[in-house]
């Protein structure tokens, strides 16, 4: 068991990461409205404590991967905001060279193994990375994120089944934000408790709300430590909420303003700030926020000024070797 760091210093560091994600997403939304970003854009606003807490619970050499709602995890893992914003702008300096876009952030250096667009399709892939770790006798843990909407699809079940059968070191993290596009969980699942899905696979399960980033880190750290030690997978349901629409084109008519306002009052980023303020960290907070603002402004400028990829990039990114015609 690792002893947990509970210092203000760590809390400030985690707050910084959450605030970075928040501000990054807000500026991405603005750039999208200005037509600088195209396609789909799914924001992580409201869910920041999960990616940041999870990253803090993991080692940098552990594998992590997620859905199309991937900016938060990428930034938490350590992707440079420049590379992230440039990807959204379709620039060659982006994390996927402008070829992937919002849904497909990859960062090999930081063990961010991608954002994926087909619901559930990446879950077995996450299990596969754990398979490789076990195969090589390494003690890495893999963590794969998905929404509660993915829990109905076959790949989730096949991934869970195999992970349990083959005792693979993987943590399945269901970010239950209550909605899959416009569908509330009550209309996608026959049970309200997602973690129950582990039972049929004889898998350990956990369930908690993302009340604070420290809480997420603590709960996940205990799980990750156990998975690392025993090589037994775990399904974790983390209750959260997204403050924006499913993507930029979603007006969000399926939920009431009151519900949204109510959830925003529990905003994890704001709460972390209040808590740190109460501990006398106002100065540090202001410094951090200023730094983040500068970083995001710099990322936007960098993205704007960066060159676009040319057609010559297409062949070498399609095959590793000679193009198979």
């Amino acid at each position: 068991m690792t002893t947990l760091d509970t210092s203000d210093e760590l809390h400030l560091k985690l707050y910084r990461q959450m605030f970075l994600i928040r501000r990054f997403e807000e500026e991405a939304a603005r750039a999208y409205a200005q037509g600088k970003i195209g396609g789909f854009l799914h924001l992580y606003i409201g869910q920041e404590a999960i990616a940041v807490g999870a990253h803090a619970a993991m080692r940098q050499d552990d594998y992590m991967l997620t859905t199309y709602r991937d900016h938060g995890l990428a930034l938490a893992r350590g992707m440079a905001p420049r590379a992230a914003m440039a990807e959204l702008f379709g620039k060659v300096t982006g994390c996927s060279k402008g070829l992937g876009g919002s849904m497909h952030f990859f960062d090999r250096e930081h063990n961010m193994l991608g954002g994926y667009g087909i619901v559930g399709g990446h879950i077995p892939i996450g299990v596969g990375t754990a398979f490789a770790s076990k195969y090589r006798g390494e003690d890495r843990v893999s963590m794969v994120f998905f929404g509660e909407g993915a829990v109905s699809i076959g790949d989730f079940h096949e991934g869970m089944s195999l992970a349990s059968l083959w005792r693979l070191p993987v943590v399945f993290v269901c970010e239950n934000n209550e909605y899959a596009m416009g569908t509330p969980i009550s209309r996608t699942l026959s049970v309200a408790d997602v973690s129950q899905k582990a039972l049929g696979y004889g898998m350990a399960r956990e369930r908690f709300a993302a009340e604070s980033v420290i809480h997420v880190r603590d709960r996940l750290r205990a799980i990750v430590d156990r998975v690392r030690e025993t090589s037994e997978p775990t399904l974790v349901e983390i209750q959260t909420y997204r403050f924006r629409g499913h993507s930029m084109s979603d007006p969000g008519k399926y939920r009431t303003k009151e519900e949204l306002e109510e959830r925003k009052r529990k905003d994890v980023v704001l709460r972390a700030r209040v808590e740190l303020e109460e501990k006398g960290q106002s100065e540090a907070l202001e410094r951090i926020e200023k730094e983040v603002e500068d970083e995001v402004t710099d990322a936007i400028r960098f993205a704007e000024e960066s060159p676009e990829p040319g057609p010559e990039i297409l062949a070498p990114t399609t095959y590793t070797g000679a193009f198979a015609r």
Partner: protein, 327 residues
């Protein structure tokens, strides 16, 4: 006649057929309460109730299989995928069940099912969300594949599809949903499958297209006219069955053919058409048949690169010039 958008024409076909035949129902993600991811099924839940407009969780394989089962024993499901990309999750159901049940049961069971969704590129949605799936499905005996370009055809052909006894895959396009056109009101006016439409008459070259590329090809034909070249545009509408007669007839007249479509150049519907032309109209050809397809890469996100890889007016013009031996 009414002026309808493509999306409204698709909806009109579903509503008319559901009113005519209570065995018909609609199932898919967000088709009910959300009013359709692209608002195609807007108002239908209110009209028909949750028994016949059914919101399904993200379970493409599951609700496709369930619909195939229901179709075997007498219902007439319309399955909506949010886009055709996600049908890949249900590919096994479509390939191994929908397409095979009739033959492997010796004709005892048929599968009268319609699978429908927007298809192909949709502006910067990246490599996993831009597939032209007709090429995969048209290969499969037992399936029919339609890809109308206009609101009138969308309505008339979807009605034919719903009344058909076999599985019909109906390919719409996000980029066409707002296209307006005149649509007949008569609920008994069907557009048959397997009949192509001459979208524009011409004598110098035949451009064969379907779905969105019909419109791009018409733009190319208008540009060619300014240069004194008369291009005939054939809108296939139906990919399987394929109206080879219409294709051959046009090529006999123009002696040159270009096939323009979204999808990769390796194999696919375009290659099938080229093969038929060279087999059936070899002596009439004055130039090799050329294909203007999506370039041989997964779809890039970057807007310019996306435009670079998908077929465009300039690339059609280039191919036409080539078959006309102009430079």
């Amino acid at each position: 006649m009414s002026t309808l958008r493509y999306r409204d024409a698709v909806r009109a076909a579903m509503i008319e057929e559901m009113e005519r035949d209570e065995r018909v129902f609609l199932v898919g993600e967000e088709v009910g309460h959300y009013q359709g991811a692209y608002k195609v099924s807007e108002g239908m839940l209110e009209r028909f109730g949750p028994k016949r407009v059914i919101d399904a969780p993200i379970t493409e394989s599951g609700f496709t299989g369930i619909s195939i089962g229901a179709a075997m024993v007498g219902l007439r499901p319309i399955v909506e995928y949010m886009t055709w990309n996600f049908s890949a999750v249900a590919f096994d159901q479509i390939l191994n069940n929908a397409a095979k049940i009739r033959q492997m049961s010796g004709g005892q069971f048929s599968v009268p099912i319609v699978l429908r969704a927007p298809n192909a590129s949709a502006r910067q949605v990246g490599s996993q969300h831009s597939h032209a799936m007709e090429h995969f499905y048209a290969q499969v005996p037992g399936l029919k594949v339609l890809a109308p370009a206009t609101p009138a055809d969308a309505k008339g052909m979807l009605k034919s599809a719903i009344r058909d006894e076999d599985p019909v895959l109906f390919m719409e396009s996000e980029t066409l949903y707002n296209v307006k056109g005149e649509v007949p009101d008569d609920p008994e006016l069907l557009v048959p499958m397997g009949v192509a439409n001459v979208a524009r008459e011409g004598k110098d070259v035949t451009i064969i297209a379907w779905s969105r590329l019909t419109h791009v090809s018409l733009e190319a034909a208008a540009a060619l006219e300014k240069e004194g070249i008369s291009a005939e545009v054939i809108d296939l509408r139906s990919i399987r069955p394929l109206d080879e007669e219409a294709i051959v007839k046009s090529v006999r007249k123009t002696h040159r053919a270009v096939v323009a479509y979204e999808g990769w150049p390796f194999g696919g519907v375009g290659a099938e058409i080229s093969d038929r032309i060279q087999r059936l109209a070899f002596d009439d050809l004055d130039a090799p048949v050329l294909r203007v397809s999506t370039l041989d890469y997964p779809m890039p996100y970057n807007a310019k690169l996306e435009q670079h890889v998908i077929p465009s007016v300039p690339r059609i013009l280039e191919a036409v010039n080539q078959v006309l031996y102009r430079s």
